[in-house]
């Protein structure tokens, strides 16, 4: 199984500020996909952003962007202009199509937004 590591169990950010969540992964493959999921208190998993490994350009979705460093196997999430609704558990995930699209998740980072 692939390994996904999130080294920050908890993070906090002031409302309207920027925060970066870290994620590293271990793989010997060259083709794969990376995701960030958000899990609010409702426990519903919501996709935040997706990155294809073959693309050099970092993905962006409104206030969310990633810094994808393929050689370093690093995939961090930047949240700009943080809002109270961003408070949640954030999970980094890795998937390979050729192994049945198994999704491997990190242990999560709990983000607190301070008003």
């Amino acid at each position: 199984a692939q390994t996904v590591t999130q080294s920050q169990p908890e993070m906090s950010v002031q409302e309207a500020e920027t925060v970066t969540l870290s994620c590293t992964y271990d793989t010997s493959e060259s083709d794969y996909y990376l995701f960030w999921y958000k899990q609010p208190p409702s426990r519903q998993m919501i996709l935040v952003i997706r990155q294809e490994a073959y693309k050099q350009q970092n993905a962006t979705e409104n206030r969310f962007s990633v810094n994808f460093q393929k050689a370093a196997k690093s995939f961090s999430l930047k949240i700009s202009d943080s809002q109270l609704g961003d408070a949640a558990m954030y999970f980094c995930a890795y998937a390979e199509y050729y192994t049945g699209n198994q999704f491997y998740f990190g242990t999560g980072t709990s983000l607190t937004v301070i008003p």
Binding site: Y33, M45, A95, G100, N101
Partner: protein
Amino acid sequence: SQTIHQWPATLVQPVGSPLSLECTVEGTSNPNLYWYRQAAGRGLQLLFYSVGIGQISSEVPQNLSASRPQDRQFILSSKKLLLSDSGFYLCAWSVDRDGTEAFFGQGTRLTVV
């Protein structure tokens, strides 16, 4: 549109009792299906995944089993629950296509007492 249903939402079971959690997907065919367990501080652990009817792959040897009797139905079972089986169980599905995301159910909170 596609939807995923997972039930029950909460379950309290005594040690040694059987377990059956059910997950169904609507609005798609031949999905990949997954069972995850979420324990505090351990993220989402992939338990089983299935790429087709009757095709089950296990990631972690344990007290649980999974079955896929129909294309869009995925069942998580146990003959005898252990205390360590307590946790939050999530069913998910994805399209059998490169780069697709996983879509999750609402989850089941299982407490073994």
